[in-house]
Symmetry: C3
Subunit: 466 residues, 3 copies
């Protein structure tokens, strides 16, 4: 089912060059500097559960499409917060998924799944309602074999480094277990302080308490909070981290005076902080995190512009990350002005910026990254991590920022089995972009080979100091 | 003049597949679920007037281009509000149009006209200054023949359903006449309450009076107003309507308390409503209309984001719809939050959302439609109802929303004769999009055939419950 | 190195037509109606300095990329404001540039430079670290030959008209010298009043004094200021100017009463004007300039949407135009409403509007230019003056505004030697766009030939009354 020349232009002049470029990079090791795979997987190295538990229930990329077509999350087996019952027959859920697999036509989810099914599981027919149970059985059998243990797959997938994403208060227990086990898979944490920075979140005080307890410090003022953050970063760095990450509604940055910041912190502790307080506090923490990065060398990542939990009914019943996160317009030129003025020229600072608002690629992000030495462009993200999405990213950033102010590919996934398919797709799309440029005599084949290597492996290692 | 393979990629690998797909759907009946053709045309079934009266004078898509190049609307015969004289020699106006027909190169208007001239009128040369009067004569002769009566053309065009757009106060007299005539052409109304909802419009009170009189109720408060709207919807539904439509400046939605809504309504009756009142009132009426749709099953359509009558001099002299309506930035994630939270998960509710702000395709609309079961994406609209515009629509929505959260094509036209050309162009562009995906092994040919059928006929009937 | 078919689609069906179209327009004279070449070059007609002084030091398009990759502006020889020392060994700077020439892969700067090196200097190898000094020597030799004097190159480049950009207070001394010299190169000024309109700029009062002194009038109130502006425009027009230009943060337009305007002017003279005052004053001056254009016939140009000097450290050390100007979101529908209502229907007024916010192409600018007779669309500007950028411009404007509401190409450059390469690239991209349309049967070859001539030469002369 998988055509060797998939995602390449059908124009033979382009396709031939794309294939030539791709053949040189397709087997390069995978560097995954930003993702959400659970480190527990590799600490415990237990068999994956059945196909439904593996593919559908944990992956909102997949079930959001079924939900949009009228299937309830209960029918799809998504666990409720209050434990009220949902479908627990994996085969029934799989049947719905297979009956509706045609919905994924033309989507990246469809492309990744097709490749996983064929390359990882050896399934050689298109999933549909008729073969649903047979395919389920074939997969189930594989999943129980030793070749499908997480560590074995990790090695088979040829992953050079895999970054996880970890809360500020995480003690990185699973990372320690992996290291202690003597297994050599290179799995490193990433410091993500969102839960302790979003002062209006329901569980913020709990998160501060966790942070207090993990550091054995009573965090009762802003100054202590900042010190604890610095200390946690140090710990993460010692555990192998090379980067931090923040998901923010807006990339607004502005340093508060210590007294202003503390006043907000005190109001937050009393449950009296306002929306404006939170915006200011987050804008201030972006400045603090940039300052810390300029000191400890952890690479800063910013993922802005998503209104989380848009569908409140779903959020209340099923919790976070259930497919209801929706992008908003995002502005970088003004919002990042203060951060870039303070640290954008700093030789020890790097900030990788992402967006879901493609209008900013050519208008704001490429001009900023094509000037400030500290700023690099993260790859096409989330909804735009797709064939057309990546094409648009290259078309709208290259002419102003060049290739060398970008940082290679991020799979950004919690679906471990999809990692090879995602990187393969990205390499194909990048090689095809370069092939088109070669065929139009915009760049020459020698440069294209250099760049395709950089996009697959070189730039990501440079950007993340790997 | 019309090449059989027009609008397909010239790359032979794509073109061959596009043609194969198109050949299977080109003769499917036309379903036109949203448009502005006057039902009077079919009630009276009189011959169309001359070419100038048919093509130019009623169609601001056409004369706006001539106006932009320095021809006055008076020269083009557009009637003035005060009746002050304008050119009334159709041949002179036609000559200007023909002299300038090259201006339409590369525009959808040019493509539609070329197809209408050739396929409907049998004109086999490109219109220009030299052949202007000859072509005029050829058309005039055809227009006077019985084959060119509206009902005959309707049948020839193979139209399965044609929706008109009708004011809330309309008694649907022409629709009744059509039904009563025994003619079987399926022409159905659509309920559009803009005139009674836009409380600051000059003629709002008149419109409320019309509404009062058609329902025999004195509409002196908000509660009565809402009841009358419900009653009118019921009447429209009885007359065959399957949908409502609202044109709004912003898709802002927020439910007011009944007393707030009534206070605004009272101020409006006294001519004392403010801009903010109107915004709130419209946002509230979107909520009310959604609620009614969830009850009566009429499909809700929202067309936001146009600043009407930008050119005030033209508006004062010639009135509405004279080519001076200009799009603005539009925001959906926040604006539709309340409506989607209230009704987006409702099994009996459907809302079809349109935009003139293409930046929202990938950023907001596809993510929303790829999650909420009630929301579907209307096709590329108005200025974007064009070859490149439709390509961008598919490129920017498919990967996140898939094909099956879209609703086929809307011609949205008042130019009856252009309907076949518009649907044909849309089918060609969609088949070509699919062919490109097949040729790049993104989807397979079997899926492409299924999808091309859905885009031409299946999805529109499902979306509008036809 | 330069392929004859560069920038054309590699699909043979398109390439063949593109070449046919391009062959007819490639040798047409260059019309450059908007740029920043220094007229002193042609007044003095002295040899150009060495390659580093010619290509790198004056061109922020080039050194911003090196800066983004970690080279300091000091290392690159960019002069400081306070005269503190910077690298002055041109060969060292050239070596850095050559070592990093691969960074420009896929950028328009790379494309222009490659063409200049080969066509103007006869360099037939790709610049790199190894051949850096040899290439430097070859260039240096050429630069000292009489064939490389500015006037000789101007004639060789086949430039029909070259517009410079000149401050309101400029006495146009170099333009006079050129005219008086008897040399027939057609070099004309453009009136740019930004320095006397931006009332918050550090040197605004100085600029007003210069203006006072050049006109021998004491500019102490708004009324006098306006009269002086009118008088300067008259002088520029006498000196050959056909256009004005304004660079503004926002295209906001609103006429103030004379007393309001004067109150702001008085506050500005006292150094007490606010940000809001400046915004209002500029919005008012756009109205005044439009009014003057409707009277004296100078074509108005508006270049909005750039936040200048984003990097304050660089600005303080090195001054304006050092690569730190970053675009912002721009809005035209509301902002230009008053100007277009006042003058958009005026037969003696023309306004050419530019943007760095491509989201406005299809949404706002094409609909406006496709309606108002006075408004035309300037070509893809600055960061978007590039292969992909120009493609997007045509794809997003043509269907609504057509080709004939655009104005040909602007090189907008201060790099005189890049002018032929820039126009050549633009002609190639436009011909390829047309070829694609011909190959898809959207336009026919006859129209394509007419349009390609218009885009290369006809429209620009019509738009700028040349």
């Amino acid at each position: 089912m998988l055509n060797e020349e998939r995602y390449f232009d059908s124009n033979p002049a382009v396709r031939k060059i794309a294939k030539e470029l791709y053949d040189k990079v397709k087997n390069l090791p995978i560097v995954s500097p930003h993702g959400h795979v659970d480190p527990k997987l590799f600490a415990q190295n237990k068999p994956f559960p059945d196909p439904t538990e593996l593919f559908i229930i944990p992956d909102h990329y997949i079930y959001r499409m079924l939900y949009s077509q009228g299937y309830s999350l209960e029918e799809l087996g998504i666990p409720t917060i209050d434990g009220s019952p949902v479908e627990n027959d994996g085969r029934k859920i799989w049947q719905i998924f297979a009956d509706n697999f045609y919905l994924y036509s033309g989507t990246p989810t469809g492309a990744w799944l097709t490749q996983e099914f064929e390359e990882v599981f050896g399934i050689d027919e298109k999933l549909n309602g008729k073969n649903a149970q047979k395919v389920y059985d074939q997969m189930l059998e594989k999943l129980q074999s030793p070749e499908f243990l997480p560590r074995t797959l990790f090695e088979k997938f040829n992953i050079e480094v895999l970054s996880t994403t970890d809360a500020a208060s995480d003690n990185l227990e699973y990372h320690k277990q992996i290291k202690d086990s003597g297994w050599t898979g290179n799995i490193i944490p990433t410091f993500r302080p969102d839960a302790v920075v979003n002062i209006l979140a329901d569980n913020w005080k709990e998160e501060i308490q966790k942070l207090s307890s993990v550091e054995n410090v009573d965090i009762s003022d802003y100054k202590t909070f900042v010190k604890v953050i610095e200390s946690r970063r140090e710990y993460f760095k010692k555990m192998g981290a090379v980067a931090t990450d923040q998901g923010v509604l807006s990339p607004y940055t502005h340093k508060l005076s210590e007294s202003e910041a503390d006043a907000i912190f005190q109001r937050a502790l009393k449950g009296m902080a306002t929306g404006d307080d939170e915006k200011k506090f987050i804008g201030n923490m972006l400045m603090e995190m940039a300052r810390m990065s300029s000191e400890d060398g952890l690479v800063m990542q910013i993922h802005p512009g998503v209104l989380r939990n848009h569908n409140e009914e779903i959020f209340k019943k099923f919790g976070l990350d259930k497919g209801g996160d929706i992008p908003i317009q995002t502005e970088y030129t003004y919002n990042m002005h203060e951060l870039l003025n303070a640290f954008g020229n700093h030789p020890n600072f790097k900030v990788i910026v992402f967006t879901l608002d493609e209008t900013t690629y050519a208008r704001e992000l490429a001009p900023l990254a094509g000037h400030y030495p500290a700023m690099k462009l993260g790859p096409a993200w989330w909804f735009n991590d797709s064939i057309q999405g990546m094409r648009r990213f290259r078309e709208m950033t290259t002419e102003t920022a060049g290739f060398y102010n970008t940082v290679g590919f991020n799979d950004d996934t919690r679906a471990f089995l999809s990692i090879p398919a995602r990187h393969d797709l990205a390499r194909r799309v990048d090689c095809n972009f370069l092939a088109r440029q070669v065929s139009e005599h915009i760049i020459d084949i020698e440069d294209a080979h250099n760049i395709s290597y950089q996009l697959a492996n070189g730039l990501v290692k440079k950007a993340y100091n790997l």
